[in-house]
Subunit: 347 residues, 2 copies
């Protein structure tokens, strides 16, 4: 594994703190002081050092700092599929939140669902000295073990019902289902089906339960139920199965925008009109939903707030076991039967 054309060890910039000290005519420590503001020096000295830094184009060596401090000021984030727009958005927001605190993110994909693969990726992150990790994948005992053993704090993001004793931030899935089902009911539908995402994790019950509860509470009927992977392809398959079965309910709650994209394709191909033949409310609130046809009514997750909260939790120290639940909000568009240009309003 011989890497990138290796400049020799210290030639990264060539200039070290000692060079700066020499040029400024102060001690090496003084340089550290002005850089880190550890100690107040005389303005004059400060000025001289700053000048030298500028002149030399000095940039502190992060590796040395990391070694000394035991922190690389880096966080890891692991998502099931970086290619899914929802996770792309989430990762992006997390990066911004981390950036505000001077931290960088190393993002890794859990991709290969092979057992133990996550743990492997996690090992990598840990050995890289990340100061914390955000898991957007529900931690298997293995995963959690790796992290716990290394003493690396973590929080789960968007992973409902994780059994660990760590902080977890997510959205209220049952409430989301309720909002969706309620809205569909308001459009006059009495039978409401569900297309649910098949995650490797155990959030399924929660989703299904939320839907069941909401349907029941409204005195409506549960319609057909399909489980499918959280991808457009999964939604497409589910749609195909549903039309083939001839059990198309008049309304459907689809548990992710990605799923809905695929569903729409299946429906278009088979002449099933949305919302006339079947009304749809999706979940997630990605930008994509706006550009489907018809534009998707969707229950949006407050992604930025969730990202901020996750980072916050990591920094705040372990609010052990705390669970932060955010409220999703309905974004009305046309897949549910709402007219275009209806100003947003609740209920």
């Amino acid at each position: 594994m011989n890497g990138v054309p290796s400049r020799s060890a210290s030639s990264r910039t060539g200039v070290t703190r000692d060079d700066v000290a020499r040029l400024a005519g102060v001690s090496a420590a003084a340089v550290s002081y002005v850089i880190n503001g550890t100690k107040k020096l005389s303005p004059e000295t400060e000025e001289r050092v700053a000048d030298a830094i500028r002149k030399l184009g000095y940039r502190p060596n992060r590796a040395a700092r990391a070694l000394r401090l035991g922190s690389a000021e880096t966080l890891g984030i692991i998502v099931p599929d970086a290619t899914n727009p929802f996770f792309a958005a989430l990762t992006h927001e997390v990066e911004i939140a981390a950036g505000r605190r001077g931290y960088s993110m190393i993002a890794v994909n859990a991709d290969e669902l092979a057992a133990g693969y996550d743990a492997h990726r996690l090992e990598m992150l840990v050995s890289r000295g990340v100061d914390g990790v955000i898991l957007c994948t529900s931690p298997s005992p293995d995963d959690a073990g790796v992290l716990e053993a290394a003493g690396v704090p973590y929080v789960t993001l968007n992973q409902p019902g994780t059994g660990t004793r760590r902080t977890s931030v997510g959205v209220d899935l049952r409430e989301g289902a309720r909002i969706a089902v309620e809205h569909l009911a308001q459009h006059g539908h009495r039978t409401i089906g569900l297309i649910a995402g098949l995650s490797s994790e155990g959030a399924r019950e929660e989703r299904e339960a939320g839907w069941r509860a909401a349907v029941q509470q409204l005195g409506a009927m549960p319609g057909a139920l399909e489980w499918s992977p959280f991808t457009p392809a999964g939604g497409y398959e589910a749609g195909l199965r549903m039309v083939a079965s001839g059990e198309l309910p008049p309304a459907l709650f689809v548990s992710s925008d990605q799923l809905a994209k695929g569903l729409l394709k299946a429906f278009h191909e088979h002449g099933v009109r949305v919302p006339e033949d079947v009304a749809l409310v999706a979940f997630d609130g990605t930008e994509d939903a706006e550009y489907c046809w018809p534009p998707l009514t969707t229950v949006a997750q407050p992604v930025a707030a969730m990202a901020e909260a996750a980072i916050e939790a990591l920094f705040d120290g372990e609010g052990a076991g705390a669970t932060q639940v955010f409220a999703p909000v309905l974004v009305r568009r046309q897949s549910c039967g709402c007219p275009r240009d209806l100003p947003a309003q609740s209920g």
Copy 2:
């Protein structure tokens, strides 16, 4: 900037190489040897060390290694918008290619188009000791300067027409335009318009020239031309402008799938039928294109190959100024007027 609950400096795992050496009853150096395979030791010693490592759960400290080696075995990648599925896919592929070589990626967004912002992000990457960076943003003199000054190798990815003397890998834009226009012409269209992406960079000429040349070469007529930001919203606006102008050409080459998504929305809203009223061929070949309605015929970039090539170039040392151009390929779907289920074939 006090960070994550800081375990004290060395408590990351607690166990250091010295602990391993002690338990195995060998010297510290021996441990390094078996880990890095620097030197062959007696199988017996090797075994003992391996055991100790396992028993202790030892994991080498990357920061120390980075400090010593002058390399963090990390690469940076900077994209204009991580939220754009095309870049998400590209980043993902790059991460995989880097991972194969034991490198991690730190991804940063150029986001805020504020001048100098990139340079700032780049500084961050450099100070982090990345061993190289992949620029998916065309390097301003500033950016290049930061990198050159620090002696950090970089390659540009997907940035046609960059003026630097660095390796650049991208797709043949003119050929892409040719393929698209030719296909549209084969559907019998004589006038072909263009919706082009407005990047902050200067790739515009290339795109426009490619289209002009192709149209001309086929003896067709250039139709309306719209420039718009590389986003669905941009495509939507462009679509709105085009229908408002009443100058809708019968065929359109759209220079990105994202743009096309927005365009489709505008067309749907105004009852413009695709492909009957206007035939579309897009560019990029993201998964999204498959789930538009109608499914988008698009000229696909070989993303994985490009990512691999970029990483390869970084590792191969500076193939100074070399430009690697990949050939795009037509993916036929229905937005151009092709029937469904037509088996792929060229021409």
